[in-house]
Symmetry: C2
């Protein structure tokens, strides 16, 4: 019974992603005027996800925010999965191309990384979106293009370039994830890092008395008291980036 709709889908998805840029946009315009737009839906969905995470993102919640039912959204967007793809791409629109300062490509790479990280932290749900295949929307594409432009003066061979770009993305995503987790843990549990750690440490001491014998290096490392979890993640990111750039 399933009419093998898998074929027509990428066409529609791509058309949605590149809407406004794509050429066809023929307005047929019979029937009632659309009260919504894809953009409005995507924006509303992003707001919902920012507020309540990807778990709190339901078609009902998005519809409600727009004064519509969940089902009405399906006029504009084929499935929730596609809506998330659109949100993902749209969120990347916040990242501007780095200002051209042709002398120092390392500085440009650093500023790009910082901006991307900021974007991830503004929309932590981005880090949970799992793609099968890259999305290839216009804004995500622009982000890729802009890091390539920043790295252009370094004159890397294609394989090396790919490696550096992919490592940069990994580093930014990884650090953003750490920071986002530190934040969300602090707000959802309502405890400070300190409190959480002391509780956890007490429990561990009871449950696993020989922890220090089993994991001496871990203990030694965490003995350097981490007062601010988020700041530690930030520092680790900066240092990691510096190491990577030194290695290029």
């Amino acid at each position: 019974m399933v009419l093998y709709a898998g074929q027509g889908d990428p066409q529609r998805t791509l058309a949605l992603l590149w809407r406004g840029i794509a050429a066809d946009s023929a307005r047929t315009s019979r029937g009632p005027k659309p009260a919504l737009t894809v953009d409005a839906i995507v924006d509303a969905a992003i707001t919902v996800a920012d507020e309540s995470g990807l778990d709190g993102l339901s078609m009902r919640a998005v519809g409600e925010r727009l004064g519509r039912t969940a089902m009405s959204l399906y006029t504009y967007v084929p499935t929730k999965r596609e809506l998330i793809d659109l949100m993902y791409d749209q969120a990347h629109a916040e990242i501007s191309a780095p200002a051209r300062s042709p002398g120092d490509w390392r500085a440009e790479v650093e500023s790009w990384a910082g901006e991307l990280q900021t974007c991830y932290l503004r929309h932590p749900w981005l880090l949970q979106v799992s793609h099968a295949r890259p999305v290839l929307g216009p804004h995500e594409q622009a982000v890729l293009e802009s890091i390539l432009r920043a790295l252009d003066p370094a004159g890397l061979p294609p394989a090396g370039l790919r490696a550096v770009v992919s490592s940069l993305f990994s580093l930014v995503r990884g650090s953003a994830r750490s920071i986002a987790e530190a934040r969300s843990a602090a707000t959802t549990t309502g405890t400070t890092d300190q409190e959480w750690w002391t509780t956890r440490a007490r429990l561990m001491r009871e449950l696993v008395p020989d922890f220090a014998d089993r994991f001496p290096l871990s203990v030694r490392l965490s003995c350097e008291q981490v007062t601010d979890w988020e700041q530690a993640a930030r520092d680790a990111f900066c240092d990691g980036l510096a190491i990577l750039l030194k290695g290029v």
Copy 2:
């Protein structure tokens, strides 16, 4: 009405994570013998997740695999969230500590990274598990300890060590994610990388004729024909790792 159960939870979660190691294990043993064990449930859940992903992981599915109902699992595990934590930690048990070859710490780091990546690829759902706060189960802890042991001869200061470790995790996770996505896309859509790319490229040519003008560097990079998406991700990982280690 909610009796503020948030307090007692970490205790129970930790006790579950460190079961077998923890001291208390007092068998009360009134009532019928348990037909299941936490380990069996965790193993079954891992199998389900390996087969159907985290989306396909439902309490009903896990119960069914064990010939029980979904509700019976709640005797052993407080919520699905905790079950996933247990799965996460258990999956890390597959990683063995690197053989000691004291001369070459870089080689040890590389082998550690390779093993971790293999683990992520065997259980791609690991990459979707988002923690608030680190899990701190025994096996994950052992993985951390083993990379610290590998890096010990490098004699890094604490901050630098933290940066390197966190960068390594990011790199491994990021590359594993790319590879896993390449694989899943290939299997779920049933097309080869080649087919998928040509279809996509044709659609893009129709929708966005000036793509090459907008994103010249992206086009130039992808012109180097990628025949095998997974292999490209693998190469990028190795090169990225080499760059990072060179930077240390």
